[in-house]
Structure formats: C-alpha cells, structure tokens
Amino acid sequence: MSNAGTTLYDKLIRAYEERPPVLATEETSSLSTRRGKAFEQFREKGFPTIKDEDWRFTNMAPFLKDAYDISIPELADKSILKELIRKNTVEGWDAYQVVLVNGRIDLSLSELPGEIGVTVRPLAEVTHSETFTHYAGRHLQTEGYPFSAANTAFFEDGLFVEVKKGIKAEKPLHILHLYTAEVPAFFQPRHLVILHSHAELHFMESTACVKGEAAVLVNTVLECALEDGAQLTHYVLQSGRKGERLVSHTQVSQARNSRYDNVTISLPEADLIRNQLQVTLDGSGSECHLYGLYLPNNQQLIDNHTLVDHIHPHCESNELYKGVLQGSSRAVFNGKIFVRQAAQKTNAFQQNNNLLLGDKALVHSKPQLEIFADDVKCSHGSTIGQFNPESLFYLRARGIGEEKAKEMLVQAFGADITERVSSAPVQKHLEKHLLRERPVTNLQDVAHIEHI
C-alpha cells in the first residue's frame, strides 16, 4: 500500500470496485478470475517504488502525480491523426498498416490483411474465445510486476493477431500506436500475437503521440506465443514527446524450434520509457535474438529490463543493447538470463555497451547470468565509455569538423543495432529517425572510463 495515496492508484481502485457488474459477468470465468487475482496483487502492492529491486533506478513517483483521466478520451481530429500516420509511415515498405488510437484499432485509418490465415482484430472481440483462454497469460507474470498486474486487471481492448499453422504472412504488419490527449490520460492497451506451428510473421510497432503538453502514461502489455517452428520478427520504434511516459511489458513464449527476433529502438523526447521484455524459451531448439538501441537526452530516462529464461536444452539467446546518453539523461539496462538445470547445451550471450556523451548522463548497467546447468556456453559483459579520441582525431585530421565527426561516430556506434533489421526500407526509416534525432554533441571532455 506504499503509494495508496497517489491519485492514479485511488482512481483505479475505485474504478474497479465501481465497475458495472455486467462487465464482470460478460467475461469468461478464467479471465475474470485472472483479473481478480491481478487486481488484488495491484491493490496490495500499488505502483512500484525505488524500494523494489526492479525499480531501484527508475523512480515512478514523479510520473504518477498528474491527474490522469482513466476513461479513454474522445478521439482527436482525424486530420491530425492522418498527419501523424504520414510521418510514421515507412517509405517503400509494403506493409499492412494497422492503426490503434488510444489503444483501440481504428478501422477507418487501417488496412487490415486480407490474406487467408492471417487475422488482425480488436482484442475485445476475442476475449471469449478458446484461443484467447488458451494463450493469454500463459507465461505472463503479474506477481511482482505491478504494471502487468494493473493492465491485466483493467485492460479493455487492444490488438489480436493470429497466423494459422504453416502460413507465412506475405506482407508484414506495421502497427502504429497513436495517442491523443488534451488532458493527462492513462492508457492500458493489451495485445496478443499468436503464431501457430511453422507460421511466420514480420511486424513493426511504432509509437507516436499527438503534439501537446498533456501528460500521457501508457501501460502496455503484449503477449506473443510462438508454436513449434514459428518465426516472429518484431521491430519496435519508440518515439515520443515531452510529457509522454511509456511503460511496456512484452512476454514472448517460444515452443520448440521457434525463432524470435526483436529490435527495439528508443529515441529521445519521451520523459520515460520502461521496457520489460521477457522471453521464455519453452521448447528445445528455440532461439531468440534481442537488440536494442536507446538514445535518451536532456532529463529523460530509458530503462530496459530483459529476461531470457532457458528451460530446455539446445536453445540459443543473443542479446546486444547499446545506448548513447546525452545531456543529463539516464538509462538503465538490466539483463537477466536464467539457464535452468535441464537446459544443457545452451548458448546464451549478452552484451550492453554505452556511450556517455553528456557530462551529467548516468547509466546503470547490470548484466546478470544465473546458470544451473553445467554444459553451457554463456557470456555477458558491459562497457561504459566515451568517444575514442583517436577515432575522433583521425576523422578531424581528414578535414571533417568536430561536430560532424562525433555524429559519424554515434551513427557508427548504433549501426550494430540498425544493421540487424533485415528489411531495407525499415532500416532506412530507422536510420532516418536516428539522423533526425542526431545527438547535439555539446559535450565537454569528461575523464574517459573505457573506449569503445
């Protein structure tokens, strides 16, 4: 009950208790049981504080103070949304565009796939289905994850994607999450992506917020289930504006011989981005590849918590997260890998590299490996450094100005991540965003720690 006094907490508790009984009875018993349990967890613990180990360096208190509206506000002017969509469209990428406004699919702005075997629907339409009951919440944890618990207790809608057995989706999906708010608003969208055995899908999520000053707090939960041999490629581009706070929890469950690729790029501007990415390798021969690039500036905070759980033998996980920190920004990287006793012949690699450019920038990097099996190959590492002065001098000695040279070095640093994107137009789109958000390198010389 640590933050029972916060306005948002009180509002949520009241809303749950006062919700119309019809809503509760409409749902399947398994979902309402789950909601009830999650709600109790949330009611007991409240929002996390810096006393919680997982939130030691990410203080939510300043982001919970606003008088958030928890009922979804009216949609903004569609023309503003269209402008936002235009800005976020990936040039030259032939993809179905699925637009969610404030966490709900807007059919008038979307082009849903017409392919046989590929379904995209509002989540609210499937919560009664057996498929939903079977897949939702399979590995998602709510105990000890207050945001995931709150989302589970309260979610109303979001995105449902299903790719049937053996179907390789011909065109990728570009999912645009747009948020509009004239007053402070709190959103809790919920998404479920299911790939049946040997199905394949590429999708990219972009997040954008309509201009304005109002605080927007988004608490997203995404669950991805990959059956035997399924392959899911998932790109995430998080861009925002001042006042925007993004909290996300992604749970990926992988059956045998499945493959999951994730590239997450977090651009500056949003006040706070906290990503919780958890992958459960729940079948032998499965593999996941997680890449991240985060670029906080000014007073912003970007926190990436990842967890890869190796349960079975012969699985592989690769993870590389890189950060460029400017101004007085802060970043957190916390990467956990569990290798359980049965998970022999595991390959698990994890690396986190940071470039500290602002003289007040701060990064907390914590790679963690917990290994209970004895025949495994695992490594992890972390670096925090500055520009290599020799590289900078080399570029300048060829006539390239200091600012431009620094910009080139930052891009080179990030290239390790952007190069992981297999689609050329998406890669170009990401690089364009990186360039637009290119660091204002007004750094002074700080004693360097380690050169990268």
Binding site: A397, M408, Q411
Partner: protein
C-alpha cells in the same frame, strides 16, 4: 610553404621537441630520420594538431598562416595531410562515405561545391588504381579488419583523393612488404608536383630508395642535428644511429670542456 621556427613541444610535461627549425618549399620532398624516441612522430603529431601535445614555444607557418592556431580539421582543409603510422579502425563508418564527407568538407572550405556523385566515383576509381587499392575494401568499414599493408595503402589512397599541399608520411613504410612498399612509393612519386610538398618520416633508408628526397634531416633528442641531401641517409644506414649518438655525445663533452 611550411616554415617551422624554434618549435618546442611537450607531452604530459615531458619535453619532446626542443627547438625544431625547418623550411619546406613547394615541390620539395624532405625526409626526417632518426632513432626511436627522437621526436619524429611527435613532430608529425604537432603539425597535424593532435591535442595531447602542447606547444610551449616557436612558430609554424603554412603559406604565411599560423598553423598552430588552427583546429586539426582546419589544418586538413588548408592542405595538411598526415598519413598515420597506426591508422585507427572505425567499425560502422564506411570508407567511401567517410572519404565523400572529407572531400566535401575540404571543397567547401575552398568555396567549391560538392563533387557530383558520378565525378566522385570516377575520381575514386582512378585513385584506387593508383595505389592498387582493392575495390572491395573501399566499401567496407574504415580500416576494420584491414591488414597492416591495406591500412597503409588506404592512407595513401586518401592522400590521393584529398590532394593536400603538404603531406606528412609518418613511418608509412613500417610493416610494408617489398611489393607494397613499391606500390606506395610509386603512388607518392606520381602525386609529387611543383605545387605540393612531402615530409617523409622514416626509421630506415629503404623507403628513400623509392622516394628520392631532396633533403634529409636527422632528428635526435628533439632537435634537427644534421641536414643534408640523400647521401646523408646512406651514411646513416651504413654507420647506424649509434654513430650519430656517439658524435653527439662527443660534441656535448667538447662543449662542456670549452665551458
């Protein structure tokens, strides 16, 4: 073109250059030789503007302009080029984009528009041929995974692209096999003109068989102790640097006696 007067410099409080005087005119090739630690590479670093060096006294003028007052990039744009002894590897920066940026910045400084893509490509192909530089390397990340010889050839390829007025080659011959040495020297000889000048820093006389210098200077303990023509290099090769050190010490002793 370049005039160095009484140049003193130190690095981390340690005096490295103790009064260098050197005049380099357009069309000339100067070789600077000397034992390890004599200050040869330090001179190259000071001229190109490496910031770990502090100039404590003296003056360097490039075509009458105060070189020491300029940032490294401005020196490069004004026509100074340093071929690095140890070219750095920069993963993620493509060789060709890097060169394109460098060429554009130098041209902009001279009030010229950027080269058209096609013209740049033509120039790049032509200059690659000059140093027999593998086209595959041009599109790779800057020096990443290059062999020692490939890195040195890349330096000369850049030199050929940027067409500096004053090129300083810092031990470009070290780590080169005889074939690479011939290619690099051949390129330098083709690039020599009445308008540019070269300062060639080398430990061995070998390179000077291929690039024949107009003048040879011997650097010892931060000073030029001898200057002469190409025959001086041969004499050094024959007698070794110990000979030089002995004569220097004799002189020093003689001076002390006089005092």
């Amino acid at each position: 073109m370049l005039s160095i007067r009484n140049l003193h410099a130190e690095v981390e409080e340690k005096k490295i250059l103790k009064g260098i005087n050197l005049q380099v005119n357009a069309g000339e090739v100067h070789a600077i030789m000397g034992p390890n630690g004599s200050g040869k590479s330090s001179l190259a670093s000071v001229l190109s503007g490496r910031d770990s060096y502090r100039v404590t006294n003296g003056q360097v003028l490039l075509d009458g302009k105060d070189l020491l007052d300029m940032s490294p990039e401005v020196r490069a744009r004004e026509g100074v080029f340093l071929a690095f002894q140890y070219p750095v590897e920069i993963p993620g920066v493509s060789n060709i984009n890097f060169l394109k940026t460098a060429v554009s910045e130098i041209r902009a400084h001279r009030g010229l528009p950027p080269l058209e893509a096609r013209e740049f490509l033509r120039l790049s192909k032509e200059r690659q041929a000059l140093v027999e530089f593998d086209a595959g390397l041009v599109n790779r990340s800057l020096n990443e995974g290059f062999s020692g010889g490939e890195k040195k050839r890349n330096e000369i390829f850049q030199l050929a692209m940027l067409e500096p007025r004053l090129a300083i080659l810092d031990e470009t011959d070290s780590g080169l096999d005889i074939d690479a040495l011939r290619i690099v020297s051949g390129a330098v000889n083709k690039l020599r003109s009445a308008d540019n000048a070269f300062i060639i820093i080398t430990h061995y006389q070998r390179l000077l068989e291929y690039i024949v210098p107009d003048f040879v200077h011997v650097l010892y303990d931060g000073r030029i102790v001898r200057s002469g023509t190409k025959e001086l290099a041969l004499e050094l090769e024959e007698k070794g640097y110990d000979w030089l050190k002995e004569t220097m010490q004799e002189n020093a002793t003689a001076q002390q006696i006089v005092i």
